[in-house]
Symmetry: D2
Subunit: 338 residues, 4 copies
């Protein structure tokens, strides 16, 4: 199982406030397994990565993100600690990894980038080796050869890129990214079905071009819960008590910060809302947040009682379910905007 | 906090049976924290080491141990996995590390060797920086310059070597090693006292020359429990159920295997006996096991009720107490021999 | 460019004599570039690997080789230094790597193993990305999914495995390995031709099952020289002068040691014979050595003057030509046996 | 032997122009050993480090430098490549390392920092283990315990810090840094003399507080040349031909860039001037450059013919002499200012 966090703010965040200082950051979560069910697998000690965009556009530096990855655990990485104190960014992806698929290698560390785009995944595609060849066939040569690692996630990124009109474009609208994301999931589902694979796949994907963010909470099942995904917004994210105790504050009506994470990153229940299973959230360049259902054969409308009764055993057994279901509230209020 | 295991057998063990295959090996313990109290520190993901002696003496290869260390977590180290399948040894030290002191570096990975001797430590010397200079002054140049890392543990090894008549000798009697061990602890205690340091130090040290093993369970306190230390012996150590479930069997009267570990390595309570706080255990070349009290001002005789009422908070807070106190029984029966 | 060495002996060699002690071992060659032409590329600092078979068969340990790999340079790897002092083997493959293709990752370090088989490569397949998909199509699922890295070399190994009647067999005859090797080269050539790739490919491949060794010196060109490949045999390989000066001695008529290497490993010219371009050498389980021409459209018979006039620019520009052409003599005398 | 480069500019430089893109950067020098004499030691494949100060002061980020280090070779480090494309700085220290002293460990990678200060070294203190204890005695506890590695260089940094009135000060004048540097060298010389060590020590030290830079070219010998040190200044440093061919241009009278390096970083002879042996160069906050003789018993005045006849064998044998003595001209013209 893995963990990730997305930060988008109107002002840049010092990476340390997101990664190294909070006692409940994804890096410190990496060894805080109080409520973890799967004790036989290591948790998130198998490499990590952080990708970010510049605070200020500089023509010489370009608009692609910068990515720092490591195969040693994040909690003890002096380079990460030092960089996180010195780098500020308005849009950050961070990911800690457990090797459910793929070997321990920088090539397998999320996030990955291509041109302006950055991508990461929390979950796993069921029986991926069985569909790997067919997935590859759908890719143009350049994207086929771009993949350096051996994870299902990086191939999913290549597939997503192949769904874009021009993956090297200078800019993307949110709807172009949304459409590519939906097609990626649909394509993977078609391959799984074609190969008779019925075990659910957990596809919490995130993509950004540095301006918009599209993230999914998705499972190819009508009866099981997806890997967990949470949302928080506010005007400041800061330490309220020594020892890395952070909270999201809403000091005014504006929402300057949006965070999406596989687990709540603070102990304040009210800070976090759960994103619905089989929904996509979109953060627009202007910081609006949309929650859009992913309507396919695995979709169960909210009006159907089954929507609330998805089982948690599958995601939990895989280690992808945040057990704090009592934390927070569903993301209803913001179905349309923040 | 760290974890370690010592194996000594009349027959060599394939390292995989000790390290990589058992579901409760120190490597798998490294992320199984069901009962761990200290959730804010990573557990044992900060490097590991294994040292072993040859099964058969080969003049060309010499009598020194071989050591393999890594700064990436043991649970996902392909070299360890491959070597453990191919190496057999009658005497093995293995150690997983959390950086309570010292940076993440191969230089700081236990065990260390010097000539025929091999050493490791589980615990921590309180306020070590304050006594470091004085400790160094006690060392001859060669031992002073031998230390490549920055841990209290490696300096303790250098100190122990300085207590031996000839640390490069071809062989050592158990009593020579015992005496050096006691002097090392006494020396450190003297330095701590001289500097007014009253916080207890946890000194579970192990040393071997490839034939005898001397291990301590020691704390510089009359009222607190030392870091945990367990003992098991039997005739075979093997997998009794799929999934890495191992147990120690006593198929005959002979004791062919002795294991000493910071935590029980099997789920069988009866397999493990607890070594008493402030005692030293000695495994002789002929596989006898002695338990000897370390009698100094921190010693509380068994006859004194206080001996059973040492507090567990200190060691637990440091993460050095195996919480399975109900497992096993005290090592009384074998006070004098196995 | 890479470097490799193969050792097969009637007696096991301590790995240090092959790897770490000789001043002209492939590891020390890694930074001795006196005669290197390509100064713009790093030489062999991008990881290394060594694989070996046990000296004595042990049922518990099995017959597969053990492999140790690293992404840090071999010349300064303490684990390699320690292991090399303690391991003896009668059949060793060692490889140092420069990243002409593939990222810096353990997955990309040669040699690789599969069951009893071990494989490594020195060279490069021209325009490999163009033929990668087609090559993959020829593989059964298991071999397709076995490949964890992103090098042409590991895919070539998978292809070779696919040419064997049973890649997991308990034993192989030399002729079975030879046939698979020839088919692998032919298959790659067919793919290259199909894609209109005319740049030569350098295919010095080595495979062993722990008993026989098959190695090629091959280029898909009639006019260019292949990457260099050398051969030495004798009765002892030992240090004759301090500082790691080794030589091969022939103290009696028996040939107990055969070494094949991308470059001569000693300074003694007479020790090394050059293997002919587009030939395959075979070491049989009983230590006979055969040199067999690889007869296809790139073969030029020795009787044809063009055979002696192959150009050296291509291999040299790629960094694959040992410039010591004046060293040694061609391997004629041993065309049929040692 | 090691290599380093210092960059100070009125405008920030993108690190890639200094490190990863130039064909003759210290990273690419790391494997370009055309003229290297010492072929038995690896050249600069044993880790590297780069430290830089922010382009714009940000109160939240503070004024300390950021440091990125690695134990894998710089030439193939994807994190370095990515960071170097995204980071700009007006003051950069970069260092590639060969393990003449100290093990391969992040703790041993230059540069190191302390508060606002940053330090690196090219050279070696003769017989350092013999003076190590005495040097340590001169340090206050905090500096004694700051040293995490085992190199002579990091201890020299600690010593230099101990010579400052307040090593954690908010700012330093150039003369304060100069004085501390001279006292550091004098202190080491005194220790060497006290221990009867007559082999010369190579002490090319650099220190900066982010505003001033003090660098020495120094050897404790009257007859031998120090490790090489070069200087270049101009208005732009840019690529004039594809393939990483850079040069320093003087497009106007202003000197916006000063570089100090252990070897010329461009092929343009006229770009580089040699700093005199046993001199100190100082770059002031306002970009003036001073060259000051270090007058002690190893100083030979320019007027003495012996100053031009220092032997090159010692530094060359140690691998610390750039062999391009014909490149450039001595730094006379700028004895007093740029």
């Amino acid at each position: 199982m893995c963990r990730f966090v997305i930060y988008k703010g109107t002002a840049p965040v010092q990476l340390s406030h997101l990664l190294t200082r909070p006692c409940h950051s994804i890096i410190n979560q990496a060894f805080d397994s109080r409520l973890r069910l799967d004790h036989r697998r290591p948790i998130n000690g198998d490499g990590f990565g952080v990708g970010w965009y510049d605070s200020v556009y500089d023509e010489e530096l370009g608009s692609q993100p910068c990515i720092f990855t490591s195969v040693t655990p994040a909690w003890n990485n002096v380079n990460l600690t030092r960089l996180a104190e010195k780098i500020k960014s308005p849009l950050v992806f961070a990911h800690v990894r457990a090797t459910t698929a793929g070997t321990l290698s920088l090539d397998n560390c999320h996030p990955w980038s291509y041109g302006k785009l950055m991508f990461m995944h929390n979950g796993g595609i069921a029986d991926f080796p069985k569909i790997k060849r067919k997935l590859q066939m759908a890719l143009p040569d350049e994207l086929f050869n771009m993949v350096t690692g051996n994870t299902d996630s990086q191939w999913a990124f290549a597939l997503l890129l192949s769904k874009l009109p021009d993956p090297k474009a200078r800019s993307f609208t949110p709807s172009v990214l949304q459409k590519a994301m939906l097609e990626t999931i649909a394509h993977i589902n078609a391959l799984l079905e074609e190969h008779g694979i019925t075990e659910p796949s957990l596809m919490n994907f995130c993509v950004t071009d540095g301006e918009s963010v599209v993230a999914t909470r998705y499972i190819s099942s009508r009866t099981e819960e997806a890997a967990s995904l949470w949302f928080s917004s506010g005007s400041t994210f800061s330490e309220y008590a020594p020892g890395g105790h952070y909270k999201m504050s809403k000091t005014d009506k504006r929402e300057n910060i949006i965070m999406i994470a596989s687990e709540p990153l603070t102990f304040e229940k009210a800070d976090w809302m759960e994103i619905r299973t089989n929904h996509m959230v979109v953060i627009t360049p202007k910081m609006n947040l949309l929650q859009v259902p992913i309507i396919d054969k695995f979709y169960v409308p909210q009006s159907d009682p089954a929507a609330l009764n998805r089982g948690t055993d599958f995601a939990a057994a895989k280690g992808f379910l945040s057990p704090r279901r009592d934390v927070g509230r569903p993301l209803d209020a913001i179905e349309n905007h923040v």
